[in-house]
């Protein structure tokens, strides 16, 4: 029954998807929408061409994607590692919270992309600046979530561990960390999507490769098919990253699932 329902849902959304494409195609063929947008067919053809031929000087579309992904992976990795550590430290120690929190609150409300000019002044237009921007984008979300997670560790459960003979280190790794994991994951999820946005913004402002560059280059040549093909690649990759994260979460948080 369940499988049948999910197949039905899948077919329904497939039909909806096809309907959108059809309306789009008809709109371009028979009305003046064509002056603004290329047809989905043209975009699809362009997408395939971009995968086989180089866009810009040396990379094909998949290569551009890999370049962007590499940046995200480094920046996001750094922000995840430092964000989790700082978030937990802030949550578990009154002193560290008193020291770090005012400085963090200063940075927190600044949108990640606003750091782009500053990063370029500090680090030039190379890789460092982009990784810095991605780092900031992910960092804030991860700290916020990890922090609130580690504040919500149930003191009674922690006490239960102490009562059973756990020392501080054991209690930290066996109680505090596992009970923060769901919060850390929601931070990582938001952080990853912000990082993905940040890499686009950074590449759109200054880069010679990457998917962000593809769509700005499209804009400069008024090449709408290239922009739209780029956006599709970006959306699909973003979805894939989020699903990957959700999969990881499902594996690591099995204990939260009620049903069998």
């Amino acid at each position: 029954m369940k499988v049948a329902a999910s197949i039905k849902n899948f077919l329904l959304s497939l039909a909806g998807f096809a309907a959108i494409l059809l309306i789009w195609q008809l709109g371009v063929s028979f009305t003046s929408v064509g002056n603004l947008l290329p047809s989905p067919w043209a975009v699809a053809v362009r997408f395939v061409t971009m995968c086989t031929n180089t866009v810009g000087r040396k990379y094909t579309l998949p290569m551009h994607l890999l370049v962007s992904l590499r940046r995200v992976l480094i920046g996001f990795g750094l922000s995840a590692a430092s964000g989790i550590v700082i978030g937990i430290a802030m949550g578990r120690s009154d002193l560290i919270r008193a020291i770090v929190r005012p400085l963090f609150e200063l940075v927190r409300p600044i949108p990640g992309v606003a750091w782009i000019p500053m990063a370029i002044v500090w680090f030039g237009i190379g890789e460092t600046a982009k990784i810095f921007i991605i780092f900031i984008g992910g960092f804030v979300n991860i700290v916020v979530n990890t922090f609130s997670g580690s504040r919500q560790v149930d003191e009674n459960i922690l006490n239960a561990a102490y009562m059973l003979g756990a020392n501080k280190v054991q209690a930290f790794f066996k109680i505090v960390i596992p009970s923060c994991v769901p919060y850390i994951f929601s931070g990582l999820q938001v952080g990853l999507s912000t990082s993905w946005m940040a890499v686009l913004a950074a590449e759109m402002v200054s880069a010679t490769e990457g998917v962000g560059w593809i769509i700005t280059a499209g804009q400069q040549n008024a090449d709408m098919p290239q922009i739209l093909a780029g956006i599709i690649a970006i959306a699909v990759t973003g979805l894939a990253l989020a699903s990957l994260m959700r999969l990881l979460e499902r594996v690591l948080c099995r204990w939260r699932v009620r049903g069998s």
Binding site: I99, G112, V121, L200, M204
Partner: protein, 261 residues
Amino acid sequence: MSTYKKRQFRLRIVSLLSILVFLAVWYVCTAVLRLAPAYSLPDPITVFQSFVTKLSSRVPDGATLPQHIWESFKIAMAGYLMGVVIGVPLGIAMGWVSWVEKIVRPVFDFLKPIPPIALIPVMITLFGIGIESKACIIFFSTVIPSIVNSYSGIKQTSQIHLWVARTFGASNLQQLFTVAIPSALPMIFAGLRVAMGVSWMGLVAAELMGATRGIGYMISTARNLLRADIIIVGLLTLGFIGIVISLVFDLIEIKFVRGGK
């Protein structure tokens, strides 16, 4: 004074010291030791002076700081309100009426994974760098989280509450307005908050890439002129506006939403 209060007071002092030490280290590294050139990291006093000057001076980007703020605020509000006014009712309709869900859901699933920032080139190509393209980007950034949260808020309405309403003889619409919407309110509100953050980010990105006024434009011009002091003033202004916005949201939430839960 109780022991608890004493401890809290001591921690406050530590927080204050932390900021003072941060400013002092910044000052010593820049103004005294000159570890970084002024075009890259000016000292805090220069930044403060630039802030005061920028309040009334049009140099170097053709508008004063309040004018830039007003410009950004105007566009943000226009796009944001449009997004909320369309997104929230649409999300509620999607959650409550199944044929609306069937029609809108595919379009929505199609658009949702597109980061608003990626639409900037499309909008600039279509509408140029004027107010329309930015308002569209903000609209798009706002409408998605508004729909997502209203939709799932309505979908999560407790079946028991609806049953209670039905046994009292509430009509379909009455159930929507007296049970579903109030119980979804905290979730809808959380969506509006997220939307504000995302649209603010979209606006700054749009202004960095093409504008003639606005805070994003101000910092991007300052970067070309190597005026790091103005970049920092811009960043702090954005941060300050972010704090004010979140305070406003807190106030509204306390007043209208808490009881709804």
